[in-house]
Point group: C2
DNA sequence: ATTTGACCAAAATCGTATAATTGGTCAAAA
DNA sequence: TTTTGACCAATTATACGATTTTGGTCAAAT
């Protein structure tokens, strides 16, 4: 406790382990990645992992949360950095790209069995069906704020957002990337479609960015609280 | 040859076999369905099947063509019957519903391994990636005719059409149907989105229907020619 | 001239004994 | 006190022979 380096080392260790697990899992899948390999990759012993989590299952849980948080943080900076275009389209575009940029979350979303393995599926199927896209509630809130059209129910809009993302993320396995147009133009077209088809004209651009960031900060806060808790 | 019933019986038999194969394959998948079972279900002997096709592989090929043709015919009647709404939105809506209505084609589109089995994947992967949705060429033609927006390339629009359909068809495996909004409202929202996001305002409604039917008739003709050929 | 179904070789499946791997533990080292 | 890694039980992979299933054939029946 005297040496702050030791303390820092200790609090950063779970993170290092998760990063190792992330690297290996994206490459070989959850099932094919062993606890031993993760330990080796993280430069710690196997026992050290069991000092943090009671079992591999809980490690995977933590890994998924970790990756989801990374995506949310990535999305946050994408939105903040983009100062030229505070539109609903831009918001959705950044969301798609942020998810696509993260292989594990992408696999989780598309239910890619190769990466997820049987591991994740064995449990109750609902467990990993966490919402990354806007929730029904957020959509409803945005409708009230005059940002999204109100002639579709929040359920339907949320559903369309999801299916659009799913299609975007899975299409590469049907149409090989070499036959596909550049991602940028695709995302651009999707975003434009969402903009003209689902948003309310004349909504405050400032409000869009604000409420999006508010939503994300809430999610980040939730991740942080959960991470602090026992597990 | 004297009795016309015999002749009719003969020409209809391949169809009966395909229908039997269709029934069994949608239920058990290609792999789990045996040639013998198909013969039993169709009320013919196994040899009779080999009188029509040289092997199971060719039977599956024929089955897929058969189902695709069914979808195209279904789509055709949907479009013709819908006299109230000759919009691009309606066209796309009918397409989605027609595909979704056919389990085999739906499985082919979403690459559902349970139904397709290893059988279809063993071959060159391109083989069964036939376009059902509008081709690049059709899209380009519709752009020239002022029906689709020209600020996206034909490739991008085709790609977005595909990914949207893929998302629509696969979402049920991620979000269970009980948690989903009614299909009608979903399709409605998607169609509205396509309409406002990808179509050119002021395009002739008559032209939309006309060119759609023209395209479908061309496809049907192609199926018919192929069916007449040797195999 | 057609159609059938018993028949066959090849492939898939099953049963199982053996070997290798892996999640998890804990006495010992640091 | 904290961390490690040899160790173990249990699960999973492998090998392989026996058994069943299945795609495909063809002499016989219709």
């Amino acid at each position: 406790m005297k040496n702050p380096n030791v303390n820092k080392q200790r609090v950063e260790r779970p993170k290092r382990i998760l990063e190792a697990a992330s690297r290996l899992s994206t490459h070989y899948g959850f099932d094919k990645t062993t606890v031993d390999e993760i330990a080796k990759e993280a430069g710690v012993s196997k026992g050290a992992i069991y000092l943090v989590w009671p079992g591999k299952e809980e490690l995977i849980d933590a890994l998924i949360e970790f990756e989801m948080k990374k995506v949310v943080l990535d999305l946050r900076t994408r939105i903040i950095d983009d100062q030229t275009n505070d539109s609903m389209a831009a918001l959705y575009r950044h969301t798609l790209l942020a998810i696509q940029h993260n292989p594990l979350v992408s696999a989780l979303y598309t239910r890619n069995g190769k990466v997820l393995g049987d591991f994740v599926h064995r449990q109750d199927p609902e467990r990993y069906t966490k919402r990354l896209l806007m929730s029904k509630e957020s959509v409803a809130a945005m409708q009230s704020a005059g940002l999204l059209r109100e002639d579709h129910s929040p359920e339907v809009i949320t559903y369309v957002f999801s299916l659009l993302a799913l299609g975007f993320l899975s299409i590469s396995s049907v149409i090989p990337e070499q036959n596909a147009p550049p991602i940028e133009s695709t995302v651009e077209a999707i975003a434009a479609m969402v903009e003209s088809g689902l948003t309310q004209k004349g909504g405050s651009r400032k409000l869009i960015k604000e409420s999006a960031l508010q939503m994300l900060d809430l999610m980040i806060e939730q991740y942080e609280n959960r991470g602090t808790n026992d597990n």
